[in-house]
Amino acid sequence: MTEFGLRLAISLTQIAAVMGIVVITVLILTLAERKVLGWMQDRMGPMEVGPYGILQPFADAIKLFFKEDIIPAGANKFLFTMAPILCLIPAFIGFAVIPWGPNQTFEVGGITVRPFVISDINIGILYVLAFASLGAYGIILGGWASNSKYSLLGGLRSAAQIISYELNVGLSIVGVLILGGSLSLVKITDAQAGGFWHWYVFALPAPQIFALVVYVISSVAETNRVPFDLPEAESELVAGFFTEYSGLRFAFFFLAEYANMVLVSCVAAALFLGGWNAPYPGTIMAFIGLPSLAWAENTMWFAVKTYSFLFLFFWLRATLPRLRYDQLMRFGWKVLLPIALGNIVVTALAVFFFQ
């Protein structure tokens, strides 16, 4: 029983640590997004709260906590309350299988602990996809329960959009799965060790560069970000599915959107860019004689890759105008889907003949 207790305590510590890191990342992102957008539009971004505006996220959080919580008349109270939670849980639960650092273990009281991944399950990537697809429920139910036309339309749009682009996300990673020969994110990342030419974006015999492009575009659409933010298009739908939400419930939707962004960036880094592997063979720390600190370097590389993808999200937002709804659907089904399918055929043939 003590062993079970210890195991539980270790798991809970890991979960708390990962949740903490994700929430801190979201806080940083809210500020980073406004700063990056500001710089790209040749202005300063938030500057008032704290030195250089770095306390802005805390000011925003306090404001959201103390705002009045309004439930509109005629709204379905139960679902209106449930929807933000239904949106938030799938966004956070996917982080359980993301490997943050090297696949090393140490022993605590006879129990083997993997410090950098909460759980290495053998269907890791499918688990992420399964919970990512559930995020749609929070959005549609929130839109429906609000008893508002704008919310309902936003929710329905999001449902159609997420179903269409989820398919492309799923198909674009099949090439990586063929190369890696496993569904576990830990195993896929391990297989990409030894320099950037082993990363699956560049790896012979079948570079997954097209798959990466399809994955990134589809995940932007799946997280409802510009230029695919039709569920919350403010020029037509006020604010889409969360028009009627305020205060803490709005904050939950907001948190879920950003946590989803972090999650898809982590998955992209782990699948296509070698995860925590450095772009050169081995690590500098091991080279200068400090192999026990190699994990710090590896974790840093993972953070760098994830943040590059997050920067790409902001960059797209500053650059591209919103698509029209029919353009969005046509692009997803007639452009991205054939590319993803073609990539699977080419990768399968290449692996069959050259490996």
């Binding site: 269907i123 996809l129 697809s133 559930l134 549609i140 429906w144 329905l156 449902a159 496993s182």
Partner: protein, 174 residues
């Protein structure tokens, strides 16, 4: 421990399945169906079939049920009593099914036992290796022909859906 999990999942599946047909609000029905899919996936996990559990959630909960919700919300049927006055027909259908299951549980006990024993000894070898690998290997070797037939049937259904939805295909040609 596994008995406890099985009891929980099975009980929840029964309760939520009844709720799907018993609740009057179609949105709530769809949601209890969602809870049921989750527990079916949980049942697959207790059987060490993680791949099936993930596919269960991705396909049924992630795609099909969202489309159901989509239809329910577009039609905006908050309360439709038309389908709740059909309990007489349902009863007539249910009585033979109930008798059948009673017969299966009592009379055919010997036959069911041998069947379940062979089922349990079958996947034991597969659990040891990668579950996904085992499913893939079986599907593409032993059951290749049924698999291809199923994909052909789905293709026919897809083409049929496109023909039904695009009514102007024939008109444009003439």
């Amino acid at each position: 421990m596994s008995q406890l999990f099985f009891g929980y999942f099975a009980g929840m599946i029964v309760i939520t399945s009844i709720l799907v047909v018993a609740l009057k609000n179609p949105v709530y029905s769809a949601l209890s169906l969602l809870v049921m899919f989750f527990h079916v996936a949980g049942l697959f996990i207790t059987l060490h079939a993680e791949f099936l559990a993930a596919v269960q959630i991705i396909v049924y909960a992630g795609a099909i049920l969202v489309l159901y919700l989509f239809v329910v919300m577009i039609l905006n049927v908050t309360q439709d009593d038309r389908y709740h006055s059909q309990w007489r027909i349902a009863g007539v259908v249910c009585i033979p099914l109930f008798i059948e299951s009673l017969l299966l549980l009592s009379g055919g006990a010997g036959a069911v036992n041998t069947g379940s024993r062979s089922l349990q000894s079958g996947p034991d070898g597969a659990i040891a290796t990668d579950n996904t690998l085992a499913i893939g290997k079986t599907l593409y070797s032993t059951y290749l022909f049924p698999f291809e037939v199923a994909s052909l049937v789905l293709l026919v259904a897809m083409i049929g859906a496109i023909v039904l939805a695009k009514k102007d295909i024939g008109q444009r040609e003439t």
